[in-house]
């Protein structure tokens, strides 16, 4: 296996030349967004440096409680991100559903994954558990965010259609089943598209990282496949929970649409 290539500080600094290029283009195109690009780059740098030191610290210990606390933090932050994005549009009961979808939708597949597919020893080995948890929680967050937005939009724009179905004797589930399918598809499509293009259109970040770090491409592919399957499973379970529990929050116990 080739030795891992270490990036010296001056080379790291050299990569920022691309930011200068971006600023120049922004100036030439009169975008007026130079400040945004600088803030994004600085934030990315600080966040990654902090995450790097934190992960180094975490990887140095082997305590299941610490690993689970980090998972809990990721899930909590993902929930917070979704809810903040939908502030003013999302009801209290739908917020609770988002919490359930994120926590159950990511914990259950992670448990299966770490026991059956990727049996690290011990299961809570942070070097493996935390990156896998990060990828599943992150992707589920994107899926839930898309799904919940689509669900809210459907109830807002198709109220007449839902009410018509209710008038004709439909159960709430029958009245909204088309919209549930749409919301599920919208949420899962980014994951499916990413699977379709993988290896042909792009080489995924995790695989690239492994190859650059000196792993064999075959080994990196095996990792990537199991991770992608884990992500697909987690996103689908989380979004399924979201839509199946979420649509109920738009109805009261008399099967009436809530205003």
């Amino acid at each position: 296996m080739p030795e891992q290539l270490s990036i010296e500080i001056w080379r790291l600094a050299a990569s920022y030349l691309f930011l200068v290029l971006l600023l120049l283009m922004s100036y030439l195109l009169r975008l007026g967004r130079g400040k945004d690009f600088i803030v994004a780059t600085v934030r990315m740098t600080i966040q990654l440096v902090l995450a790097g030191y934190l992960l180094d610290l975490v990887f140095g210990q082997s305590n299941p409680l610490v690993t689970l606390l980090i998972l809990l933090f990721m899930q909590g932050f993902a929930t917070y991100t979704i809810i903040v994005r939908l502030r003013g549009k999302i009801s209290e009961s739908l917020k609770r559903v988002v919490v359930i979808a994120i926590f159950c939708g990511t914990s259950a597949p992670l448990a299966y994954f770490t026991q059956m597919v990727f049996p690290a020893d011990p299961w809570y080995e942070p070097r493996y558990f935390i990156p896998i948890a990060g990828m599943t929680v992150g992707n589920s967050m994107i899926g839930i965010s898309l799904g919940v937005e689509r669900l809210i939009q459907a109830f807002k724009e198709s109220r007449d259609r839902i009410e018509e179905a209710l008038m004709l004797g439909a159960t709430p589930q029958m009245a909204v089943s088309d919209f549930l399918g749409d919301a599920f598809s919208a949420a899962i499509i980014p994951t499916i598209n990413s699977m379709l293009g993988m290896g042909l259109v792009f080489i995924p970040g995790m695989m690239t990282g492994q190859i650059l770090a000196g792993s064999s491409a075959i080994e990196a592919i095996k990792y990537q496949i199991v991770i992608m399957m884990g992500i697909a499973g987690s996103v689908s379970i989380a979004v399924y929970l979201l839509i199946q529990l979420g649509y109920r929050t738009f109805f009261n116990n008399r099967a009436q649409l809530i205003d």
Partner: protein, 220 residues
């Protein structure tokens, strides 16, 4: 005649305030009044699409709170003034209503027959997106009638129809009630044809009962 609905001290916001009302079963009952007088709200209450703030509502003697809401809507079907037609063909629309009711859908011949009865000589497999307002209203009516509910709630069923089609629809509805002994509650702004067929007329004004009277059917 057994009451289909009985309302006692029913209020809904500032829209409706009905101290006492009995809607007879097996008969025609027309609700009339100006725009904003609470006619559609009353229908929605009867269909359990909304619940009253105060008071009690009974259907065939049972408080509707103790009837399963979906089951009630299968027995008491409502057609709104501007009904929503689902995407797809005419036949698919009718089939969907049967799916909602967990009933076996009618045959294509039966659907063709009903379309012809309502002056809709259209292929049932045709897409509904090209239908006119009046055609959509008649399709919605057929969709509801085919379900054979105990009670039908119609909100301005002839609003988008010309005289000829109004006559056809009202004649069919009169026959439907007298033939099958089913109940029909119909909201209408009035019109001579509607008045002529009504068994009981309720006049609402600002959400309150102004008067209620019986009219002998004189034919449509």
């Amino acid at each position: 005649m057994q009451a289909a609905f009985k309302l006692q001290n029913v209020t809904y916001g500032r829209i409706l305030n009905i101290p006492d009302l009995t809607i007879p079963g097996g008969a025609l009952f027309t609700v009339t009044g100006r725009s904003g007088s609470g006619k559609t709200t009353l229908l929605k209450l009867l269909n359990n699409l909304i619940s009253c703030d105060e008071g009690e509502l009974y259907y065939h003697g049972t408080n509707i709170k103790s009837i399963d809401p979906v089951d009630l809507r299968r027995r008491v079907v409502m057609v709104s003034q501007t009904p929503h037609i689902f995407p797809g063909s005419l036949e698919e629309n009718i089939r969907l209503a049967f799916y909602f009711n967990r009933k076996e859908p009618p045959t294509q011949n039966r659907i063709k027959q009903m379309l012809a009865t309502f002056n809709l000589p259209i292929d049932p497999l045709q897409d509904t997106k090209h239908l006119s307002g009046g055609e959509k209203q008649r399709l919605a009516l057929i969709r509801a009638l085919q379900l054979e509910p105990e009670t039908l709630l119609l909100d301005e069923p002839t609003a988008a129809l010309d005289d000829e089609n109004t006559e056809t629809v009202l004649r069919y509805l009169t026959d439907w009630v007298s033939r099958d002994g089913r109940s029909l509650v119909m909201v209408s702004h009035g019109g001579e044809k509607v008045k002529a067929m009504s068994g009981t007329v309720l006049l609402l004004n600002n959400g309150q009962i102004e008067k209620s009277y019986s009219t002998a059917p004189e034919g449509v």
